[in-house]
């Protein structure tokens, strides 16, 4: 096993990886930018190397500095986390060149699977199910028109180099096609410096289900059940669970075996995730492969009992998988919520700043993976993921009851978070019934947040009393976060909220 590794990331995932290292007796090296001197991953590491100013393009995205930091600290391997350089084959190649182990798949596997069109092409060639559409970039509007007619509307235009919901465009009819094509290409150009787009059948009320795989360097490749990731906002996952309410033993086996075949096409090693869309008739279609550890890996860990980060480290060190497919048993149910520094009552605007109070939930079946602490100033420069709340119960019903309990316990001050929003989601009848699809959150938000329920009389009294008590401070001239006169009017917020579904 490695004696020392470098973690080329920040935030909760850097801490997550370091926790595994500490438990395995592996020394850790953090890298950090100016904004992150007192961030938890720096405090948590045995060594910390400064790699540049706050913007990630000048620090966390600099392969040369990451490699140099690893060299100087004599780290034997680099764990990339997710995001930043995690799916950049150039880092994997630079590692190889520097004689450092990259904790992930080979650059070649990453390249094949990282391109949606290439991976799609490979899947089609092996007769594996993909969403009907093109398997290559579309070069003219004529071609787009012809193919869209063939597949049948609605269709989706997608950026070939895309991810994170950018460069996605749903097209309802032939009339919209020309303008949608132009916009999609221009967005793709802006976001990824590559205008290539491709076309797919739009699946109505699709569910997003993904399969976790693990492969070692000795030819063993297994799947570890599925995750349901249908709850998304702005095409970003916000709630994930394992198992999926949709998937039964048979479907799990078929999807799992397909995922393993897809991973095998690339000679895939280490942890990876094969994403599928599942339609209302439970047909599944290969979507893409994520060649890294996923944000939502804890739900799989809780249900299978396998520590995926420790497995990654062992695989990268050349060890054989000791788990065979038949050893993977699912027990219970896990649900994750991504806790963001954003204000759900104010258009989900980001909310960086000083954390002044924190009472994370705990007790039976609650896990919090966090990179924050009281006294830490959440920086403006990076994504707003503060922590992941993961609950575990013996059934979906008990996991949901626990989720609601944990969310009500979760207290954060100084900044705003989406915790109040999740409380409403956890109490929603469709969520409780497992009626999930990727449009759920948008439909939910169409009703506004806070939701349309008048409190009962006693709750009204309590709410008014607490507002009265809270107003003591203001009356006495205490600091208010925004100047009180001529402020950005609530009316504006209201209209933003009610116009929400129309926005991308």
């Amino acid at each position: 096993m490695f004696k020392k590794i470098l973690i080329a990331n920040r935030g909760e995932i850097a801490v997550r990886v370091m926790r595994a290292c500490r438990e395995m007796g592996i020394q850790t090296v953090a890298v950090y930018s100016d904004a992150d001197r007192t961030s938890l991953h720096v405090r948590y590491a045995d060594e910390a190397v400064h790699i540049g100013p706050s913007p990630s393009t000048r620090s966390y995205l600099r392969i040369d500095r990451v490699i140099e930091a690893a060299r100087r600290s004599r780290a034997e391997a680099i764990h990339p986390g997710y995001g930043f350089l995690a799916e950049n084959p150039d880092l994997a190649r630079a590692c190889t060149k520097a004689g450092i182990v990259f904790i992930g798949p080979t650059a070649e596997a990453m390249e094949l699977m990282g391109s949606k069109t290439a991976s799609r092409h490979a899947a089609i060639a092996s007769k594996l199910p993909v969403v009907p559409g093109t398997d290559r970039n579309l070069e003219s509007l004529d071609e787009v028109k012809r193919l869209a007619e063939k597949i049948g509307f609605p269709v989706m235009l997608k950026a070939a180099a895309g991810g994170g919901g950018k460069g996605l465009r749903k097209v309802e009819s032939a009339a919209e096609l020309e303008s949608a094509y132009r916009t999609a290409r221009s967005e793709a150009q802006n976001a990824f410096n590559d205008p290539s787009v491709y076309l797919e059948k739009y699946i109505e009320q699709p569910r997003h289900v993904e399969i976790q795989v693990l492969g070692d360097h000795h030819g063993n490749l297994i799947y570890l059940g599925e995750r349901e990731c249908s709850l998304q906002r702005r095409h970003q996952k916000v709630v994930e669970e394992c198992p999926s309410p949709l998937v039964d033993e048979d479907l799990r086996r078929r999807m799992g075996e397909t995922a393993v075949r897809i991973a095998a096409l690339a000679g895939y090693t280490n942890a990876g995730t094969v994403e599928f869309l599942v339609d209302r008739d439970r047909n599944f279609y290969f979507l893409e492969m994520n060649t890294r550890l996923q944000v939502e890996h804890p739900v799989t860990e809780l249900v299978t009992g396998v520590d995926l980060v420790k497995a990654q480290l062992r695989i990268a060190a050349g060890e054989r998988l000791t788990l065979r497919q038949e050893d993977i048993r699912m027990r219970g149910w896990a649900i994750e919520c991504r806790i963001y520094a954003e204000d759900p009552a104010n258009s989900f605007f980001p909310s960086p700043g000083l954390i002044t109070y924190l009472r994370p939930p705990s007790g039976p079946g609650v896990r919090v993976d966090s990179g924050s602490y009281v006294g830490w100033r959440v920086p403006l420069e990076y994504d707003p993921l503060l922590a992941k709340l993961v609950v575990y119960g013996d059934s979906r019903a008990s996991a949901i009851a626990r989720l609601e309990r944990a969310l009500v316990e979760y207290e954060v001050s100084g900044i705003r978070t989406n915790i109040p929003f999740f409380r409403s989601v956890a109490a929603h009848p469709d969520f409780i019934a497992g009626r999930l699809d990727t449009g759920f959150i948008d439909r939910f938000l169409a009703d506004g947040f806070p939701r349309r329920e008048m409190p009962e009389p006693e709750a009204q009294l309590v709410a008014m009393l607490v507002a009265a008590l809270e107003s003591r401070r203001e009356a006495a001239g205490a600091v208010t976060p925004v100047p009180a006169t001529n402020a950005w009017k609530t009316g504006g917020r209201e209209s933003l909220l009610s116009s929400w579904p129309a926005r991308r």
Binding site: P350, S413, L465, L469
Partner: protein
């Protein structure tokens, strides 16, 4: 004293009044109060647990309540709060007669309106031009913070009199962005 509240639930709005002897001192962290609303009287035992978190015993009913003041103010210069009671969130406005009088005297609600930054960030796009007419809901500019682009929209129909910020500029929460007349 009597405090006037407006409770919101979607489009439904209800006005309520809360009567209590007097507001406790800003320094007090706990106490007892007799409160009245809707013709009923109740004994409340309150304690401030941490900033924005209160424990209330109303008779023997226990409420652990979190309250968050919203930036800005509602029409009529009320203070806007989001009150979290267990899994539920409610929006509530506390009327401030003094402020309202001030605002009315200044004619602020009818007159020009400064649009302030709701968060710190960087201006990535200015979509409106000085002198242009904008419709309610129209995008005025885009602020980037925490890797997210956030559109600032017009709270009402009007004319952009002045734009205070340029693309690429960094802004703090509450910074003036533009002026709508």
């Amino acid at each position: 004293m009597k405090l006037n509240f407006r409770l919101h639930a979607g489009n439904e709005v209800q006005d309520r009044a809360l009567a209590l002897g007097s507001l406790p001192s800003p320094r007090a962290q706990s106490g007892r109060l007799e409160i009245q609303a809707g013709g009923k009287t109740a004994q409340a035992d309150w304690a401030e647990i941490s900033p924005g978190t209160y424990s209330i015993l109303l008779g023997e009913h226990s409420w652990d309540v979190r309250i968050e003041k919203q930036p800005g103010e509602a029409a009529g210069s009320a203070t806007v709060y989001i009150v979290l009671l267990g899994a539920r969130a409610y929006r509530l406005e506390l009327a401030n007669p003094r402020r309202r009088r001030r605002a009315e005297a200044a004619g602020a609600h009818e007159g020009p309106q400064e649009i302030l930054a709701p968060m710190p960030g960087r201006i990535v796009k200015v979509l409106a031009a000085e002198g242009s007419e904008v419709q309610q809901g129209e995008s005025l500019l885009v602020i980037e913070a925490m890797k997210m682009q956030n559109e600032i929209r017009a709270p009402r129909t009007g004319k952009v009199e002045r734009i205070y910020v340029a693309e690429g500029a960094g802004v703090e929460t509450g910074a003036r962005l533009l002026r709508l007349v």
